[in-house]
Symmetry: C2
Amino acid sequence: MELKESFILETWLKSLAQDTHGALGLLDDAALLHLPEDVELVITTDMAQEGIHFLPTQRGGLVASKVLGANLSDLAAMGATPYCYQLALGLTDNQYAAWMDAFVVTLADMQRTHGIGLLGGDTIRGCAALTISITAFGIVPRGRALMRTTAKVGDTVYMTGTLGDGALGLAFLQHKMLDIDESYSQFLQHRYWHPTPRLHTGQALRGIASACMDISDGLLVDCGKLCAASHVGAVIDYARLPLSSAARWAKEHMPTLFAECISGGDDYELLFTAPPEKEEAVMQVATLSKTPITAIGQIIEGDKVTLVEGTTPLILPYIGYEH
Amino acid sequence: MELKESFILETWLKSLAQDTHGALGLLDDAALLHLPEDVELVITTDMAQEGIHFLPTQRGGLVASKVLGANLSDLAAMGATPYCYQLALGLTDNQYAAWMDAFVVTLADMQRTHGIGLLGGDTIRGCAALTISITAFGIVPRGRALMRTTAKVGDTVYMTGTLGDGALGLAFLQHKMLDIDESYSQFLQHRYWHPTPRLHTGQALRGIASACMDISDGLLVDCGKLCAASHVGAVIDYARLPLSSAARWAKEHMPTLFAECISGGDDYELLFTAPPEKEEAVMQVATLSKTPITAIGQIIEGDKVTLVEGTTPLILPYIGYEH
């Protein structure tokens, strides 16, 4: 069955927008948003296309989770509270009702989890490859957004959660990890498909973190971006990188693959800096937001990010995802 | 030459964002927007893909003009003043520097013309088909946006500019109009590729128009949407439809094609309603915004849009573009 745009709107999209103030029932040329004077709107866009970010056969639920999750992770990195989103959906003629059902059920679940709603968007059909572009909106008290530009020499470098699981999950999906225990492989796939945007942590870090971003392209590449934006360098301690049990298994049994994945993308953890005197406050944020936070290095002068084991610089086979 | 994302960012995109407050130099996870208490943000998204909305060989300048123009037309339809936009760019490996140059030069021209700037976005490479999704932002005084839902029985139906030129321009590009005078064909192509968002007219219609939208899918389809949103019907007078000289030529020499194109899409004119007592005010808007405005029909009870010639209902071969 070929899906017409008006049918898609009525059957799936309107339900996602029914409680969104300003969405105007998706009936108008545009949506309306009114904000109080004391907040700023935080705006981020992520685009994904089948064949690049997921396989053509990928189920709608996983695609929704991945793309909206990546957007929410950007809001978390700014310390924002998510608010609503615009969805541009480019469907191929192979997107059937079952795919749309799964896609929309997952979006609806995420809307409930994060207290957001669909604001508006566009749908086109006949695409050469399924394409999704989401522009997500968050709210932050005026002047209190977390930035990448404000790391200072002497700050401690922290990250949330564990590193490398996303890339290891992708490696498993690419049949590069054959002898792995099933509980590990399921954990890694889940980490790959379902980013956990660290929204509560990001919000709690306002006024504590000196700089913040999310790890989407790999720790070293992303830390390099944060350092470049702040005109500083960093030393990251290899021994302190937080690893899941599954990643520790991979480190022991597949060291080459592990070394690649440790700087792979798709982790969607927060990478942030804070001055040493904020250490206790940072650990309180970890407790309050129920999110592991690990000190992994230090901001130094210069413009280089160096990974060290003890005092020896380490060279990884792969430093991250250059888009 | 394959274009890397970081190169694209540095070479082209940063220049578009250099004067945009809150774009943060395109360096951060998201952009920031602060609004005064007395305005609403108007938000619209349009997605376009090669093979559907333009040919793979299409020059970057025309693609930019068409996609950003369509977004600005949505802002015009809400009576908004354009403010900034997010650009999601999905490039194929066939997009070269010359294409990007032309694309960005046109965006920069449009930014100057409309007083807007690039706020943020995303770029991906390796796409199966060039895909562009723009989310445009406008500003409107609080509570004064023009809607589709507020047309009233007895209101006059108006439109700006002329009808059918966009569809005729596409017909020419599809080699369906061989014997046309070159000045006509150039005019029609220009109308197809370069939407003229009726921003000044839309802004001036605040408080005068009872309902408004833009004609992007065809007069009859779009008038049907406005009527459905307002729970009314409409009668449109075929003899009063405003035609360019080129369209009048087509009407005379290629009546079947003309009849198709009269309800084709891509006109990006405003379709609006106003009560009879506002007629003089509407004509003042036409003068002040230097934009032709023509009364083409009337809002009636019911739920049908009827095209009439004199008192005879007309059936067109094609009623518009269902996405």
